[in-house]
Each structure stands twice: as C-alpha cells, then as structure tokens.
C-alpha cells in the first residue's frame, strides 16, 4: 500500500456516468473490497477530451487544471486516480506539462485565479486505475480475495493505446500487467498481439470506414484465438468494440459475438459478487455466454499443435525475458 494509505482522489470522468456506468459501479465495488478509499472530486468538470487540445490549447489545459486544483484539495491527495484512459492521459499530460513549461504553468494558473483556484504543478501523481490495482494492491492480495476462479474463461487483454505511454514503467508495445491480473483471477489469457492497437477512438464520428476496419482487426484477432471476452480498461475502447460490433458484422459479413468487459467487472465476479451488482447487462453484446464458461472443466484443447514427433525443435522458454514486468 502506498503512503496514501489506501486513500485516493477519484476522478470518474463523463463516460463513467453514462455509457461506462458499469465501469463506475464495478470500480466502486472492487475498491470497497480491496479497502481502497476513493474520494470523488467535488464539482469536477470535463477532462478536455482529446480534440480540444488541438483547437485551443490554453483553455484546454486550464479546463483540466481546474480538476487538478480541486483534486489537490480533496482527501487522498497526492494520489489521483482516473479509470478512463483518456481522462488519465489528459490529467497526466496537463500535470506534467505544467511542471515542465513555466509559461504554460503561469498562464494556466492565471486562468485558475479567476475562479480563486491555484494548482502547484506536479504536486499530484496522476495514475490509471489498473496501475493502482496491480502496483498498490498487488497480485498477491488480489489473489487472496478470489473466491470464484474465472477458470474456463478465455480472455483477450486489451490495453488500448493510452495507458502504456510514455514512461509508465510498463512495456509500451507488449504490456503484460493486465494479462497477469487476469491470470491471478484464474482466467485463461490468450496471446493477443493486438493488445495495444487502436480501437478507432473518435474515428466512428469522422470516418466510419476507417473506424470499422480498426475495430474489425481487434475483434478478428480475439476471435481467432478463441477468446470468450475482451477485457478492457477504457470506456472509449469498450464503446467502440461493443456498440459497433453489429455494424462491423454487417459491413464485413462477419459474425463476431464477443462481449467487451471492464477488468473491474471480472475482478468483482472472481471476488464472488453477482453480475447485477457489477453492472452486467448494460453491454450491447451480452456477456452471458462468456460468464457461462466460468467453472467449466479445463477447456478442451483448441488446436494446440501436438508434438508431432521428435523432429520438432524446442521453443525458447518465455520465463525471464519479455514478461518480466512486476
């Protein structure tokens, strides 16, 4: 546990009050079980989304900095947690840039002063929820809470593009901390090469053709590997893969049927909570079939290459290299 003693400032962001409601309530349930105190910022506002920064930078940074200024006054500081990857990025970017660029810091604080606010750049540590879970709580403690192993369920760990860069301490191109978390819960984690590829972001609103192709790739890869569900940590990723799955099927003549779940929902299930209290049912592609896999006996081997004969060459061992992240 960190110096914050399990207390964090919580910035839910707009998605968690709407499309990602399931993420919000499952986060709160899981946090409660893990003795994490999440104090929501009073009167928080928009995180600035992504395009605003390209249009008018100073108001965008000021908008985000207002949240930081308020967060610094909230119990749990200096640890600020955001479950949404986009919120995390914007909060962290503003925090870092204000600390790095004096002029920006000055201008933003000038803007904040109009509302009688001030933010000491760099005084907060902005962190994504997953980072809190795997670093501060740790796999061991999570494992100890598991009462219903997810054994039998094959999940594709999907990180999206925002939480692993830059300089997060996790491998940027092939992170494995969500993999390890899912393994801790008892799930079977598939090798998922598309784990950090683009979900399409806001492209669905700009160019459907581009977005659908990006979504198709991810769904196809998960389907090829026989995933029962894709587990995600970002409301944008969840929305794109879930809501547009039908459109993708119609466009490409495919029949993907893969539920897109938040990692907190699966943690809750493994902790013995009911699907209802974790917000299941609000997903477009139903999770029922995936949940039904839980507890199934060791799933039948899916075309695992049989050791043909003595001619086959040994595979390099994976332990040690590559997946050595904590």
């Amino acid at each position: 546990m960190t110096a914050s003693n399990g207390a964090y400032v919580y910035y839910p962001g707009c998605s968690l009050q709407a499309s990602a409601h399931a993420y919000d309530i499952s986060t709160k349930r899981v946090a409660e079980r893990l003795n994490l105190t999440f104090n929501e910022i009073d009167d928080w506002n928009c995180c600035g989304a992504t395009e605003f920064f390209s249009i008018n930078a100073l108001p965008a940074y000021s908008l985000v900095a207002r949240n930081l200024a308020l967060a610094a006054q909230t119990g749990g500081a200096p640890e600020l947690v955001a479950p949404c990857s986009a919120c995390y990025l914007n909060l962290r970017k503003t925090n870092d840039y204000m600390a790095k660029y004096k002029k920006l810091n000055q201008q933003v604080n000038q803007a904040l002063a109009a509302g009688n606010l001030h933010y000491n750049a760099g005084s907060l540590r902005v962190r994504h929820l997953l980072d809190i879970v795997v670093q501060d709580v740790g796999y061991e403690k999570i494992g100890a809470e598991v009462t219903r192993s997810l054994q039998g369920m094959r999940v594709a760990p999907y990180y999206g593009c925002l939480i692993v860069r830059p300089d997060t301490g996790y491998n940027t191109e092939y992170p494995t901390h969500l993999d390890k978390l899912m393994t801790t819960l008892g799930a079977t984690v598939i090798d998922f090469p598309m784990k950090t590829h683009c979900c399409g972001g806001h492209m669905t609103q700009i160019s459907e053709a581009v977005a659908y192709e990006l979504i198709r790739r991810i769904l196809k890869n998960a389907a090829d590997y026989g995933a029962d569900a894709i587990v995600t940590l970002c409301p944008m990723c969840q929305l794109n893969l879930d809501v547009y799955q039908g459109q993708v099927n119609r466009t490409f003549g495919t029949d993907f049927n893969i539920p897109i779940l938040y990692f907190t929902q699966l943690m809750g299930i493994a902790f013995g909570m009911t699907p209802q209290e974790l917000g299941f049912g609000s997903e477009v592609v139903s999770a029922d079939r995936a949940l039904a896999q839980i507890g199934r006996e060791e799933p039948e081997e899916r075309e695992r290459p049989k050791r043909k004969d003595k001619q086959a060459l040994p595979m390099p061992a994976l332990n040690g290299g590559g997946r050595s992240e904590s």
């Binding site: 191109e173 598309m194 043909k308 060459l313």
Partner: protein, 673 residues
C-alpha cells in the same frame, strides 16, 4: 625566488593552435615570467627539429625545467620527456601545458580569450614545474608465462602466437571446450568457407602445443600483482571425469538417459545429455558431467555412464580444484553474449514459434546442428517458402543498445544466401542501413542483390500472427515502413530470423573489476586509446582482444588476438618492465593506520602492515591515481609528481591575473568524512 631556469616552448601545431591562439604573443609573454630563461614558439614542437631545439637549449642555456605548451600529455608527454632525457635532464622535470584541447580547440570562436587562457595554462605549468622533483622509474623482471582468458577465436590466436614464439601460455576457458561462438557457426562471410574447417585446425594446435596449458571448464577467481608479476587464482570446475583415463570414446553420452536443451552450444535449438561433449571436434576431447541435470546428482540413482565407461574414468566425487599461478602478462578475450530477443516483445520471440534468433539459425543451418543443416520451421520438417530477416534487433535502438553490432548485416546476407540455396524461399531483409564495410564485403552484398533477395529499408515495427489482409492467414506478418517508397508494408512470411545484437558478457563489469580494467558505457572493456592503442588497457600488462572490447567480426577478432601477442612478446623481450614512478607514498611514521585508503584503492595497491599498524603502498601496483592522497584524513600520503605544493603552485599560476602574487593559496584542512 627559485634558481631554476625554465624553457617554455609554444607549439603552433600547424593551424590547430596558431589558428586560434596568438602563439607569438603568448611566447613573448611567457618570456617575462619569473624563472623563464627561454621562451620560443615553433610550428611543430613534436617534430625532430622541435625536439632538437629543446635538447640544444637544455645543454646550451643550462635549463633545469622544460615546459612545452602544445597538445594533451596523452599525446606527446613521452616524446618530450625523451628529449629532456637525451639532453641529460631528468624526464620528470618536464611539464606539458595543454593549450590545444584546453584552449584553441574549444574556444575557436573567441581568439583573444583563447590566447589569454593559453597564457594562464602556461603560467600554471611554469609554476608547477618549479616544484617538480626528479624521479626514477621502478624496474621489475617479467615472468615469461602469459595468461589468456577465453578460448574463442581471439584467445586461440593470441595463445598460438605467443606459444609459437617459444613462451608458455595458460589458456583458461569457462566452457568444456575451446572454440567460442565461431564453433557454432556453419559458414563465414563473405567467402562462405566452412567455419569448422578453418577453426578446428587451430583448436587442434592449441591442444597439441607443448607451450600451451589448457584449462577448460575453469574460471579466474582472483588476480593480484602487477605487470610482469601477476598472481592468478583459477578454479578448475570438477568435470567429474578423470582426464588421464578418459579416451573420449563417447560411450558415456550415448548411454546417458538425461536429455536437456543445450542453451549454450545449440543456442536452445537442440538437446544434449547430462554428460556431454559440446561438439564432436571439441578440444579437449573429454566430456563433462553437468551436475544440474545429471540424474545421479538429482536422486542418487542411474550411474549409466559409470557402468558403461570402458576405462573407469567417471568420478562422481571429483571436486573443484583451485590452482594458483604466476604470469607476467594477461590477455582477456572473453567474448560476447547474444542479445535476448525476448526483450523486444513486439517481435514475438518466445511467443511465435517460427521466430528464430540469428544464433538459432546458425545452428539450424549447420550440418552438424539439430536439423542436420536443413532449414525448417519449428515443427522440424516444413521448409519455409518465405523468410524475413530483421536487422538491428537490440542494436541501434535507444530502448536497448545504441551501438551498431557491426557483424549482423553481413551475417544476414549470409543467411539470406543460405536460405535461398537450401530452400529457394523468398527472402526479405528489413534493414535500417546496410553496413558492409571492409574488404570484399560489398561484393557479397552485390551478389545477394543479384540473387534476388528482397531488401526493405525500414526497421520492422512488429511481427504478428494477427492476420488482416488476404494471404496473411496462418503466416507471420512483418510490418514495417518501407522508407524508400514511403509506405507501410505488411509482408506475410513463414519464418522470421532476428539478427540479435552482440552484448557485453553478463558478468563483464565483474570481470573488469577483477582484472582492474574499465568498461565503456555499453559495458565492453575499455582500451587504452580507441585508435592508437586498441588492445592495451589502462592497466599495464593486461590486454584485450576480440568482442570483449566491442562488437567485431572474425577477421578483426583474429587481428586483435595476434596484436595482443605482439604486445606481450614485446614486453617479454624486454625482460623487465619500467614502471612509472608517479606513485603514492605513505609516510609510515605519521600514518594512523585507519585503513580508509585500503578499500578506496581501485588497484588493490595498498597493503596493511599489521605488525606496524600502518598502510603501505605497493609501488608496482599503484597507478598514481591520487584517490588515497585525497582521502587520507591525516594527509600523510603524498602523490609523487603531484604533491600538494606542485598542485597549489599550478593553481596560483593559473590564477596569476586574479590574485596578488604574494597571496598564497591556502590548503584547507578537510575533516574526514
């Protein structure tokens, strides 16, 4: 006022100094300094005419000190010391003022300032020279035996050359056989001649040379002493084989039931038994028992090897043996480690079956390797129809190693040729730049271009099995930006070969410390001078050869091995070494015996004399670095040639224009930390 007569010589160094520093003005100014009897400037002081000028002035003018203001003492201090000595002056009364690296080269945009700085540097050198004392070099005899550490191609050549000249060599190798990485290769670029055919005769010569004592399966544990007189402790790990009885017949490994993956010689692509000889041409021919995987050492049963050994050579109770030897010189040729491709997960090594490393491929293509030289996928039978070769895996990458590994472009070309020859597959090289310097290498590149190998200029972004486009199903897809056509490309292939980097040995820094030498930022052993002294180290009597010094190919490793032999033979030929007298000296009467200096010394040159309760510097081991001098809380250690007085005088001289000449620089007594 001192009676010394100083001669000051300001070098133009062509335009190097004179182009920036007003040398005439400086030499004229220096002539006014106290004690300066002669001040001249000259185009090239290091020329024989320049040196003769110094010699003549010493004799004619009766100079007692000489200051040459020119380049770095690294460059020409020995030159001018020699000139002084020839004229009958003690060479340690010479002082060099560096007005090139320290003034003209770094202040090219401000000539007046560079001129003023040159004056200050010379003023410091003149003042310092007055405090110098004559010194005599130490002399020590040289032990004629040489230790060579590492039995790869560099160490083998060093050993053979020295032994061939008639001197004893002790060759220590960590693995059960000599041969190194070269023994793993099949073909060598650019000639494609067989690696074993050119290597094994040399290995055989090592084994048969009466002057070479071969200690395989052994490691150096401790090194003491100094050039000419090293004492080395070597651990001979127990082979569990009595080599006086063993005939190398092979009955033991043929019967051994314990099969393990051979991560060393076969690079993980093949198996060996618990009792094994790494490869058929191994020197020496004796096997070793790997106690980690031997069934008998695990659970006390089996002993199949013992039962079948016709000469009774298996000795399960054999213990490690420690030998202590005296040698005069040491050659380190400890080689390299292969980059672990799992550190770049985007390339899928370890996850995707048909991604191979270059070392795995070397074994695969080797006629005596796990596939008998057949190029096949991980299933061991299917020949690939398309192969991608990815360059610079762990090289030229700020995430892993920034340096170029120098050999991989050529090895990649070799692989491309072998793949085509053996399977007729299409081969795609993903490269950043093709680096085919050195003799006949470019011709080989041209040959490959003509053979129809595809070259895509762009670092591969990832290797994936996530198919997206038609034709990608069931393939590995290499994604890269083709920077020549400015487009992203996805190339579906059956097999990927990662050209992994050469890295310093995992324990290189420990080994460097053990032998008292340095490592570069990347971790390779540091040579004394990157251009002009590439196989010597800052520690006299210790030389480096081959890839422990930096990535290089076979010809370069061989050259360095032979170069170290020449250096060693040169020292042996002299019969004795002259050791720089620039050393620390402890005033034993005033030493409190606190021993702070003992552990600080990077060269283990300070001994504690228990009966007297004082520390003493072994002058032959001391390098005169001054660490102990600075650390001594009682200030009883003197750095010869760098005394307090000489350093303080130099500072006073440097600050001539900002201090009144009567004000003394005060030595601040420091409290011990």
């Amino acid at each position: 006022m001192s009676e010394e007569k100083v001669g000051v010589y300001v070098c133009h160094c062509g335009h190097n100094i004179a182009g920036t520093v007003n040398v005439e003005e400086v030499s004229e100014w220096a002539g006014q300094l106290p004690n300066v009897a002669v001040a001249k400037d000259y185009k090239f002081m290091c020329s024989s005419l320049g040196q003769e000028m110094v010699e003549e002035d010493i004799k004619k003018e009766g100079l007692t000190r000489v200051v040459v203001a020119a380049c770095s003492p690294h460059m020409h201090e020995p030159t001018f010391r020699g000139a002084c000595q020839r004229a009958g002056m003690n060479p340690y009364l010479f002082e060099m003022a560096n007005i090139r690296e320290h003034a003209s080269w770094v202040h090219q945009d401000d000539k007046p300032a560079a001129t003023e700085k040159a004056k200050a540097i010379i003023s410091g050198a003149v003042r310092r020279s007055l405090e110098l004392a004559p010194l005599e070099p130490f002399r020590a005899p040289i032990n004629k035996t040489t230790l060579v550490v590492g039995g790869g191609i560099a160490g083998i050549n060093a050993a053979l050359e020295i032994a061939g000249a008639g001197y004893k060599v002790l060759l220590v190798e960590r693995e059960p056989s000599i041969g190194g990485h070269m023994a793993q290769f099949d073909k060598t670029f650019p000639t494609l001649d067989c690696a074993a055919c050119i290597l094994t005769p040399k290995m055989f010569d090592v084994g048969n040379s009466p002057n070479i004592e071969l200690l395989t399966y052994s490691e150096v544990e401790q090194v003491d002493g100094y050039v000419g007189n090293f004492t080395v402790r070597i651990r001979k790990r127990a082979r569990k084989i009595d080599t006086t009885l063993c005939t190398g017949c092979g009955d033991c490994w043929e019967r051994c039931p314990a099969k393990v993956i051979d991560d060393v010689y076969e690079s993980g692509l093949g198996y060996r038994t618990a009792v094994y000889r790494p490869f058929p041409q191994a020197v020496p021919k004796y096997p070793v028992i790997d106690t980690e995987s031997c069934i008998y050492f695990k659970n006390g049963r089996c002993k199949a090897c013992e039962k079948f050994c016709p000469t009774g050579a298996i000795k399960f109770d054999q213990e490690d043996e420690v030998v202590v030897v005296n040698v005069g010189n040491i050659v380190l040729a400890t080689g390299y480690d292969v980059f672990d491709a799992r550190r770049i997960p985007a390339y899928g090594y370890g996850r995707l079956a048909n991604v191979f490393t270059s070392m795995e491929f070397e074994r695969m293509t080797n006629a005596s390797g796990p596939t008998d030289g057949k190029v096949v996928l991980r299933d061991g039978v299917t020949a690939p129809e398309t192969v991608a070769i990815i360059h610079c895996v762990g090289s030229r990458d700020k995430n892993t190693n920034v340096y170029c590994s120098a050999t991989c472009c050529m090895a990649a070309l070799k692989f491309a040729h072998l793949v085509k020859e053996k399977t007729n597959a299409q081969v795609y090289n993903f490269y950043i730049d093709m680096r085919t310097a050195f003799k006949d290498y470019e011709l080989f590149y041209t040959r490959l271009l003509e053979e129809g190998t595809h070259f895509i200029r762009g670092r591969a972004a990832e290797v994936t099995d996530a198919a997206r486009l038609p034709g990608e199903e069931g393939k590995l897809i290499v994604q890269a930006e083709d920077t020549l056509i400015g487009k992203q490309r996805r190339v579906p292939v059956d097999m990927v070969i990662l050209m992994v980097a050469m890295e310093p040995r995992a324990d290189a820094s420990e080994v460097a410390h053990r032998f008292g030498i340095g490592c570069s930022d990347a971790g390779f052993f540091t040579e004394r001078h990157p251009k002009l002294d590439p196989v010597a180290t800052m520690t006299e009597g210790i030389f480096i050869a081959g890839t422990c010094q930096g990535p290089k190919d076979i010809p370069a490793s061989v050259s360095q091995g032979e170069a170290t032999a020449a250096r060693v033979l040169g020292l042996i030929g002299k019969g004795e070494v002259q050791i720089e007298p620039v050393r620390a000296q402890i005033d034993e009467d005033r030493c409190s015996g606190c021993r702070i200096c003992n552990n600080l010394c990077p060269y283990n040159a300070i001994d504690f004399i228990a009966e007297k309760g004082v520390s003493r510097v072994n002058p032959a081991q001391c390098k005169g670095c001054g660490t102990c001098v600075a650390a001594c809380p009682s200030q009883v250690i003197t750095g010869q040639h760098y005394t307090y007085d000489s350093i303080m005088s130099q500072i006073e001289g440097l600050l001539y224009d900002v201090r009144s000449p009567n004000e003394k620089v005060r030595v601040v007594e420091m409290e011990p930390a």
